[in-house]
């Protein structure tokens, strides 16, 4: 295999995948210790998708993700500290602790969630792209979702509308073969997901989601095409979730052999082999990466532990911007003055 990347690029891709994995391994431990509660959906096994695709976006582009979004937020650049604090539910979290694992938000990086109703993010992404089109901005909205979303009406409605209006949306389907516990073939009469996107007159490709370089290349091409005004694009990444769906999953729906078989294609191990074969990765690099990531995770946990809880007095803050009454006189003044 020929590898046309610099050592720095290769190590950065590896670093991002490792950051996701070590962050989540720690989060799983903290969950067992009772530090993190509620749902915790781990991305372990799927790291190549976020690590390979998100760097194709600029800071002006937008990301809409799902409840399995730890990796996306990390690669997007939201600090590990604020993400860990969000898992703890602390006021120092990226959503002031209001959302937890499923609802990471970061306005400064145009990260619009963390939306946890399957399929619910697609229409929002279409609208973000519509706003860009109406305002003449050459931005891209990247919308992540799983194979489960393909069964939702919003998937079909959103693909249709984005293609009909030629909106700059990049649809990224992380096909990990299971909608929670229901295998793709058990919920789709036609399991060719990219084919469904093509039915909406949209360019669509299926990519090996365990190969970070394949993800990077395909996503870069798709973003470029969208930015040139070619309308939406659809990428289906074939990937696999190594861990349970959430922390409450006995995994009765798949065999250990199947999981082990996919683990042979661990995206991190595969990429390490690629880098070593190309002479771009050495033992000391790996040690250095692991050491610095371990320090980042330890620091994030310390930050989360030390962070304050939101005061209960703030419980109903941010339901509305202000009370409607407060704004009323100001609005009337403005409107009447405009006249």
């Amino acid at each position: 295999m020929t590898v046309s990347m610099t050592r720095e690029q290769g190590l950065e891709l590896l670093r991002q995948m490792l950051r996701i994995r070590r962050f989540e391994e720690r989060a799983a431990e903290l969950y067992q210790l009772g530090k993190i509660h509620g749902f915790l959906h781990l991305y372990i096994g799927e790291e190549a998708v976020a690590a390979g695709s998100i760097p194709a976006l600029t800071q002006d582009d937008a990301v809409v993700a799902t409840y399995r979004e730890h990796g996306h937020a990390l690669v997007r650049g939201t600090s590990m500290r604020s993400l860990m604090a969000e898992l703890y539910g602390k006021a120092t979290g990226c959503a002031r602790g209001r959302g937890g694992s499923m609802h990471f938000f970061d306005a400064s990086r145009r990260f619009y969630g963390g939306l946890a109703i399957v399929g619910g993010g697609l229409p929002v992404a279409v609208g973000l792209a519509l706003a860009d089109k109406l305002q003449g901005r050459a931005r891209v909205t990247a919308c992540y979702f799983g194979d489960g979303a393909v069964a939702e009406g919003e998937f079909h409605e959103s693909l249709n509308l984005a293609a009909l209006w030629k909106l700059p949306v990049l649809f990224l389907c992380e096909n990990n073969l299971y909608a929670m516990g229901t295998a793709l073939a058990r919920h789709q009469s036609q399991p060719d997901i990219a084919g469904k996107a093509r039915a909406y007159a949209m360019t669509a490709h299926t990519i090996d989601g365990m190969d970070v370089l394949a993800v990077e290349a395909a996503t870069g091409r798709a973003v470029e095409s969208i930015r040139q005004g070619q309308g939406p694009c659809f990428l289906e990444y074939r990937t696999y979730r190594f861990r349970a769906h959430s922390m409450y999953d006995a995994e009765l729906y798949r065999t250990k052999d199947e999981v082990n078989e996919w683990k042979q294609r661990d995206p991190i191990a595969l990429f390490q082999q690629t880098l070593r074969a190309a002479g771009l990765l050495h033992d000391e690099d790996e040690e250095q990466l692991e050491t610095s990531i371990a320090a980042e995770v330890t620091d994030a946990v310390a930050f989360a532990e030390a962070g304050p809880w939101e005061p209960v007095e703030n419980l109903t803050k941010d339901v509305y911007s202000r009370t409607v009454g407060d704004q009323q006189s100001a609005i009337n003044e403005k409107l009447n003055a405009d006249r």
Partner: protein, 323 residues
């Protein structure tokens, strides 16, 4: 100046589109067709297809796209043809529009306006006759408006577009052809208070939307019998103006709540509870409710009329209360 409710809605939208380049309208048949209720007639020619967008029949996605466009800096007006179809968009409304500000720790605003027709009374049977604004008023994070007059139909829309948070406007389908007098100089109207539409001392009739006119007719009828009813138009279901309700009830000591929705779990029940919690000892009689019968609204005229509140039924309820 006398104009129809339809014309009031249209002139409000037209002014918003002229005033603010961020405003655009999307929904089913808002463009070429001119709006199912003709509220956007002529807009496609005047403002062009970029700003007047006909959508596919995909309620969930075009409401969700309104949310996204609002997040992206626009001021969308989304027309969901009727409240009956809004059920297909309920996920976007409840799980995204209403939650995003809070769930993001205050980072995101959704300045979205959604308009839809509501209500029964036109013999369009069970699936096209719902009154669900009370359901929507259950959801924190959104504002729920029920304009009953032409001044509110026009002015509430303009005020709604200035809000940083999602606003849902329910226009009773029966009202579109109604004529009314547009108050002089009205641009925006306040959306914080209920309005006393008729002053009286014997009983408070609390209502909103299409039921306002039936209630006012009942009050006129009752006046001939020597009963002076005060009629309060709630106008804003969320956040609800408790003060105006309580002030009226403390004066009259009796209340009937009129709501076209089904009685069980109705918005009328909420208003009744507000009175019970805050003015129980002011009451000379139990709070009464005049709501629709618990039945899918039937097609034949006599059965539909039997199912819905009417001026006569409202007057009867008041007479029972004062007996």
């Amino acid at each position: 100046m006398n104009i129809t409710y339809r014309e009031a809605v249209r002139s409000g939208m037209r002014e918003a589109l002229q005033r603010d380049p961020r405003v655009f309208l999307m929904g089913e048949d808002v463009g070429r067709y001119g709006g199912t209720y003709a509220c956007s007639k002529g807009f496609l020619d005047e403002f062009g297809p970029e700003r007047i967008r006909d959508t596919p029949l995909s309620e969930s996605t075009f409401v969700g796209a309104g949310i996204g466009a609002a997040l992206g800096g626009m001021r969308p007006i989304v027309e969901v043809m009727t409240v009956n179809f809004s059920l297909l968009a309920l996920d976007q409304i409840m799980n995204n529009a209403a939650t995003l500000r809070h769930m993001s720790g205050g980072q995101f605003s959704v300045p979205l306006v959604v308009r839809m027709a509501t209500g029964a009374g036109r013999q369009v049977a069970a699936q096209h006759s719902h009154s669900l604004e009370g359901w929507y008023a259950h959801i924190p994070g959104i504002t729920v408006l029920t304009p009953a007059t032409v001044t509110d139909a026009r002015g509430m829309l303009l005020t709604a577009l200035e809000q940083p948070d999602p606003v849902f406007i329910f226009e009773h389908a029966y009202l579109y052809s109604m004529e009314g007098s547009l108050e002089e100089g009205s641009i925006a109207v306040e959306i914080s208070h209920a309005a006393v539409r008729r002053i009286g001392k014997d009983v408070s009739l609390l209502t909103f939307g299409g039921s306002l006119w039936k209630t006012l007719a009942a009050a006129t009828q009752l006046a001939q019998e020597g009963i002076e009813a005060e009629v309060v138009d709630l106008r804003v279901l969320r956040p609800l103006d408790h003060d105006t309700i309580l002030t009226s009830v403390r004066k009259t000591h009796r209340a009937v709540v009129i709501d076209e929705a089904w009685r069980t779990g109705s918005f009328a029940a909420e208003v009744s509870a507000v009175i019970m919690e805050q003015a129980f000892y002011e009451l000379d009689a139990p709070v009464a409710r005049m709501c629709s019968e618990e039945v899918p609204i039937p097609y034949p005229k006599h059965l539909e009329e039997a199912a819905l509140p009417s001026a006569e039924k409202i007057a009867q309820a008041v007479r029972r209360l004062l007996r």
